[in-house]
Structure formats: structure tokens, C-alpha cells
């Protein structure tokens, strides 16, 4: 439907990106079971359309802050899969020199500010970054991803109020996957129509089907346009679902297998692929070729991570204070 305005090449690029997230994370899960990756590993599988759709609507100079479930966001932002995988391996060739791991992917050159693992704590920072852009008269907007669990935090309320009060250009993207770890939306929010929280702060808001890439693209483009023209914040709620457990070690006692299966029918990847095929923006042959390319790139990412090196232990207290104190 909306893809008509986009050319064939664009459609293929998006399909590549969304596929890359899926395959990259499937591989990450495998490497985790082999203990190559440690700590917490939160997979985005099922939710890929959100990051893909929102970030494509942004410009390179716009800021992005994400949660600890951020591999997809980092990949769509254009960070190198090998460098991300190396980070998850704890290698110094990783995007955060191996210091951060899966939950803390950072790339300043791409205006990608993590990788934040304290639920809701990055929302006020996003407001501050937008405030800076406003004061510095920069055109950039700040996009902040968070889960519906974070919307129960006090910091959500404070950040929403401040952003609206100060009229700063933030796109708040609520990735509502229905579970705050293992506790369902109905047990954590009295008002479960999350977009309604926007107007109570005098903030524009909308809800979109987060399993439909094209719908997310359209909704985000609209939201971003509104922010750029008004300079005011916007709350976009994307209803989505994670197909896999909260983190690797999770027995999923809190949800029904049937529910997961129902949502899997809405898998955003076949949905987008079929839409492209239907619109004749891609051929099956090309789809197969893309799959192969993705597989090859994931393989390369693993190779890069495997051949990476560990930082020497003498460096332990590096990056605690800046090296150039007086510049």
C-alpha cells in the first residue's frame, strides 16, 4: 500500500534490514547457549518492524536512545553487525570496546546512545538531549524507545511532563510487547490504552500495529514530520510481541503457548515480504538472494567477533575519567 511511493531498491533494503535483525539474533541465541555471549541477552525477535519502521523515518543526525533490547535498533541505524557481535563477545573490537556487552551498544558517530539497562532511566536523558538541540538551534530530533513496562515508572511521567512543558523535539516510541518481563500489561497499568497517556500531558500521540512494517513506517513518518514542524514531543505506541522469552533464562510461566502461536501468525517479516511480492517490488528470486546475503553477513559478523581480542587487564580502570581533562 504505502510502498508505492518508495522504489524497488528501498523495499529491498528494508527487507534486508529486518531479515538481518532476525538472523543476527537467532545466531546470537545460539552463541549464547555455547557461552560465547554472557550476561543477559534480550532478543527482539518478533518486534523487528518497530525499530526498522521508526528508524528509517529518522535522519542520520537525529539521536537514538534504546533499551537493553537494542540489537535491532543498532543494526538498522547502520552499525556494523561484526562490531556489534564483537561487543557481545566482550572483545575490544566491539562498539563499546567490549565493556558494555549486549545491553550497552553505543556508537556516537551514528548518534546511537545505547543500550540502557535501567528501565525508564533513559527517558529523562532523551528530554535533555532534545532540550540541548533546541537551545543550540539544531534541527535534530531525539528518538527514545522504551517498553510499556517503563511507562509505569515515575521517570516516564516526569519525562513526558518535562518534554511537553519545555516543548522539545522528542519522539517517544513505546514498544508495547504486553509483558514487563513476566508481568502482563493488565497487571501493571490501570489505563491500558497507552496512547491516551499522551493527551494528559498535552502531547500528541497515536497507536500503530507494530507487527506491520509499512504501518509503522507511515505512522513514524507522520509523527516525525509533526515534531519537525512543531518542535513538540510526540508519543507513538507500537503494539507488538516478542516471540521469544524475556531473556534466555526464562521458562515463560506467565504466558500461554497458544498466545505466542497466535502472535507468530502476525510475524512482521513474511508479512512485509509478501506485501513486496504482491506489489511486485521484489521477486522471489531476489528474496532468496537477500536471504543468502543476510546469512553471509551474519557469518562474517561471527568471524569478526571470533577473531577479536580481549582488552588487556592492565586497562581495567580505563574510561572511568576522561583522558583529556582540560580540553
Amino acid at each position: 500500500m504505502k510502498m508505492q511511493s518508495k522504489n524497488t531498491e528501498r523495499g529491498q533494503q528494508l527487507l534486508y534490514q529486518i531479515l538481518l535483525i532476525r538472523r543476527f539474533e537467532e545466531k546470537a541465541a545460539e552463541e549464547y547457549t555455547k557461552t560465547k555471549i554472557r550476561g543477559f541477552l534480550h532478543l527482539y525477535i518478533g518486534e523487528e518492524a518497530v525499530a526498522t519502521g521508526v528508524i528509517q523515518a529518522l535522519k542520520d543526525e537525529d539521536n537514538i536512545l534504546a533499551t537493553y533490547r537494542e540489537h535491532g535498533h543498532a543494526l538498522v541505524r547502520g552499525m556494523d553487525p561484526g562490531v556489534i557481535m564483537a561487543e557481545m563477545y566482550g572483545k575490544q573490537e566491539g562498539c563499546s570496546k567490549g565493556r558494555g556487552g549486549s545491553m550497552h551498544l553505543f556508537d556516537k558517530s551514528k548518534n546511537f546512545f545505547g543500550g540502557n539497562a535501567i528501565v525508564g532511566a533513559h527517558l529523562p536523558m532523551a528530554v535533555g538531549m532534545a532540550l540541548a538541540a533546541k537551545k543550540l538551534k539544531q534541527k535534530k530530533i531525539t528518538c527514545c524507545f522504551f517498553g510499556e513496562g517503563a511507562a509505569a515508572e515515575g521517570e516516564f511521567h516526569e519525562a513526558m511532563n518535562l518534554a511537553s512543558l519545555w516543548q522539545v523535539p522528542v519522539l517517544f516510541v513505546c514498544e508495547n510487547n504486553l509483558y514487563a518481563m513476566g508481568t502482563a500489561l493488565r497487571y501493571t497499568h490501570a489505563m491500558q490504552e497507552l496512547a491516551k497517556k499522551g493527551p494528559s500531558y498535552k502531547m500528541a500521540s497515536s497507536t500503530v500495529d507494530g507487527m506491520d512494517l509499512e504501518a509503522v513506517m507511515e505512522a513514524s513518518e507522520k509523527a516525525v514530520k509533526k515534531i519537525r514542524t512543531t518542535g513538540k514531543p510526540y508519543l507513538l505506541v507500537c503494539n507488538t510481541y516478542r516471540f521469544r522469552a524475556h531473556s534466555m533464562f526464562d521458562a515463560e510461566l506467565y504466558r500461554d503457548k497458544k498466545e505466542v502461536d497466535e502472535w507468530k501468525k502476525k510475524d512482521p517479516i513474511p508479512r512485509f515480504r509478501d506485501s513486496l511480492l504482491k506489489q511486485k517490488l521484489i521477486t522471489q528470486k531476489k528474496v532468496d538472494a537477500l536471504e543468502e546475503r543476510v546469512e553471509e553477513d551474519v557469518k562474517k559478523a561471527i568471524e569478526f567477533a571470533e577473531t577479536g581480542t580481549f582488552e588487556p587487564v592492565e586497562n581495567l580502570t580505563k574510561y572511568v575519567y576522561s583522558e583529556n581533562q582540560y580540553q
Binding site: 554472557r38 565493556r99 539497562a117 528501565v119 515515575g154 518481563m181 513476566g182 506467565y254 582488552e311 586497562n315
Partner: protein
């Protein structure tokens, strides 16, 4: 000899919660994912089914909110056990703990008690990186009005909660995720522990190793290794980080004349700095060598295992420092 049984640290904690819920219907457990998920670290797994949603309350991610609510419920006559998933998120509720729970009795001129029990899992390790790997006991130990307990043994895992629920004052309990799977021996009969005193976990004559929490185990292992070298180390588990059982460690140092303090937390402005200061203030003339400390490196905890290991005291660091203190 009394009979003993094998039990994991996790099971010991769960037994204590179950016992509290069974014995007193004013007790309830409240926290993130304690019910349907089964507890972030499976400590409360099965309790929702055993009791009810009234007694095992899942809460939204609203730390300041539900910890504050726990404080309020305690002021109004209930006995809440508030579980904060991890100490990392605990900081979001710090204001409630420090400004409400800790001050209420004093501000009200002794009228209002806050008998709340707040449990937090904590500890450095498992490659959870800079925002999820913390030893923040010193933050809480700084605050008058709080009773701060660190559970470094199975005995305390089983016994501390019962004592904490008897306390008329707010009790903050630290549990260590790295110890959950660890098996230990407990006597068959009910355990009584107090939350006022430190405890000698191993007697020795040559040096006092003063420690708490997850480091207790490391110190015990270090002491065994030192025994082979002919050094008898005493291991004193502080257990109560506020108010400190100063008599216990001063007595120990007065016997051994040497003190090493071991803690996972950052060195500066820590529990060890307080203990060290008091030894110098009150047992100065008992010291035969300067007080030493083995503490966490002053760096946010890095993700890779080799750097994480280098950030916290290891057994061999303890052994080496002790040897140097005894045979310079």
C-alpha cells in the same frame, strides 16, 4: 550431634518467606515478577500457587511507588516484605527508603514505627555489566534509622527474615544472586539468628579477616588455603552493616593484632573504610601492622569476564595480602 540437611541458598530464602507467610497473616510479599513469573531469580517460584494474589503481589515497574507503598502499609499495621528485583533498580526507591522509612520514627518523635522489610538481590558477577552488577550495601549502611543486613551464609538466608520481621524498624536485606545455586548444610531444627551481631565463621589466631556478603565465602576459602601455610586466619562475617557490631571486630583484632577487611564494593567511602576507621580509633594500640583492605576496583563493572574478575577481590588476592601482612 544434631542432624543436618543440604539446601540451596535460594531454597533457604524461600523457606523463610513461606514460613513468614504461614505464621503471620499480616505478612505479604510484594515485588516485580514475584508471582506469575516466579521471581526474577526464582526465589518465590511456586508461592503464588501456594498462597494467593493477595499475599504474593506482582507490581508494575514502579520502584519508588511500591517501596513507598510498602512503607505506608507497614506504618498502617501490615508486615510487608518488599522485594526489589535488584539493587540496581533499588536506587529508584532510594528516596523512599532514606527519606521516609529511615526518618519516620525520629521525625515523629518516636510515635511512628516503620516495620517494613525490604529485600534486594545484589552482587557483582555473571557478566551483567555496569548497570546490573553492583555492591551498593555501603549506600544503605550510611543511613541512620535503617537496619542493614547482608546475607553471606545459608544460615542467615534461612534465619534473617524471621528476625527482621520481629524488628520494629525498617530492615534492608541484601541477598546475593551469585550464591543462589550454592548448596550448604543447615540443621534440621529451626534456626534462630539475630540481626544485631556479627558472627565469627572461622576462628583463628594470626589475623582477623573482616568481611560480609558474597565475600564471606571467598574469605573462608582463602583461610583454608592459608592454613596450609601455617597461618590461622579468623573470618568475621559482619552480617549487620548498620548498626555495626563494632565490639565483635574490635575484640577479634585485639586477639590477632592484624586486620584485613575484604569487600566487593568500591574501596572509597565503603563499609571497609568505616570498619578500618573504627579499628584505628578504638583498637589502635592492638595493631601490629597497618589495617589493610582488599576491595573492588574503582571502575564501573566491565562486561568481559576477565575484566569483571579483575574488578572484584578474588581468593588469591586475599591470600596474597594476608601472607604479606604476616611475613613481610
Amino acid at each position: 550431634m544434631s542432624q543436618t540437611r543440604k539446601i540451596t541458598y535460594r531454597e533457604a530464602l524461600k523457606e523463610a518467606i513461606r514460613e513468614a507467610l504461614t505464621e503471620n497473616d499480616k505478612v505479604f510479599l510484594m515485588g516485580e515478577d514475584v508471582g506469575r513469573y516466579g521471581g526474577a531469580f526464582a526465589v518465590s517460584k511456586g508461592l503464588l500457587e501456594e498462597f494467593s494474589e493477595e499475599r504474593i503481589m506482582d507490581v508494575p515497574l514502579s520502584e519508588s511507588g511500591f517501596v513507598g507503598a510498602g512503607i505506608g502499609a507497614a506504618m498502617a499495621g501490615l508486615k510487608p516484605i518488599v522485594e526489589v528485583m535488584t539493587v540496581n533498580f533499588g536506587l529508584l526507591a532510594m528516596d523512599q527508603v532514606v527519606n521516609n522509612a529511615a526518618t519516620m520514627l525520629h521525625m515523629s518523635g518516636g510515635q511512628i514505627n516503620v516495620p517494613v522489610v525490604i529485600r534486594m538481590s545484589c552482587g557483582i558477577g555473571k557478566q551483567l555489566a555496569a548497570q546490573h552488577s553492583h555492591s551498593w550495601e555501603p549506600y544503605y549502611a550510611h543511613v541512620p534509622g535503617l537496619r542493614v543486613i547482608s546475607i553471606g551464609t545459608h544460615e542467615d538466608a534461612r534465619g534473617v527474615l524471621q528476625a527482621a520481621l520481629q524488628s520494629p524498624d525498617p530492615v534492608v536485606i541484601f541477598e546475593y544472586t551469585s550464591m543462589l545455586n550454592m548448596e550448604g548444610e543447615l540443621p534440621e531444627e529451626t534456626i534462630k539468628v539475630d540481626i544485631e551481631s556479627a558472627k565469627i565463621r572461622r576462628e583463628g589466631t594470626d589475623i582477623s579477616i573482616i568481611t560480609y556478603g558474597a565475600a564471606v565465602n571467598k574469605c573462608m576459602e582463602a583461610a583454608e588455603e592459608l592454613k596450609v601455610e601455617g597461618i590461622e586466619a579468623e573470618v568475621l562475617d559482619l552480617r549487620v552493616l548498620r548498626p555495626l557490631d563494632e565490639a565483635a571486630f574490635l575484640a577479634s583484632v585485639s586477639r590477632t593484632h592484624r586486620a584485613l577487611i575484604v569487600e566487593d564494593a568500591w574501596r572509597s567511602v565503603s563499609v571497609s573504610s568505616e570498619v578500618s576507621a573504627r579499628i584505628t580509633e578504638k583498637a589502635f594500640y592492638e595493631l601490629d601492622v597497618p589495617v589493610k583492605r582488599v576491595c573492588g576496583a574503582e571502575v564501573p563493572i566491565p562486561y568481559p569476564l576477565h575484566l569483571e574478575d579483575a574488578s572484584v577481590p578474588q581468593k588469591k588476592d586475599i591470600v596474597e595480602v594476608v601472607k604479606k601482612m604476616i611475613r613481610p
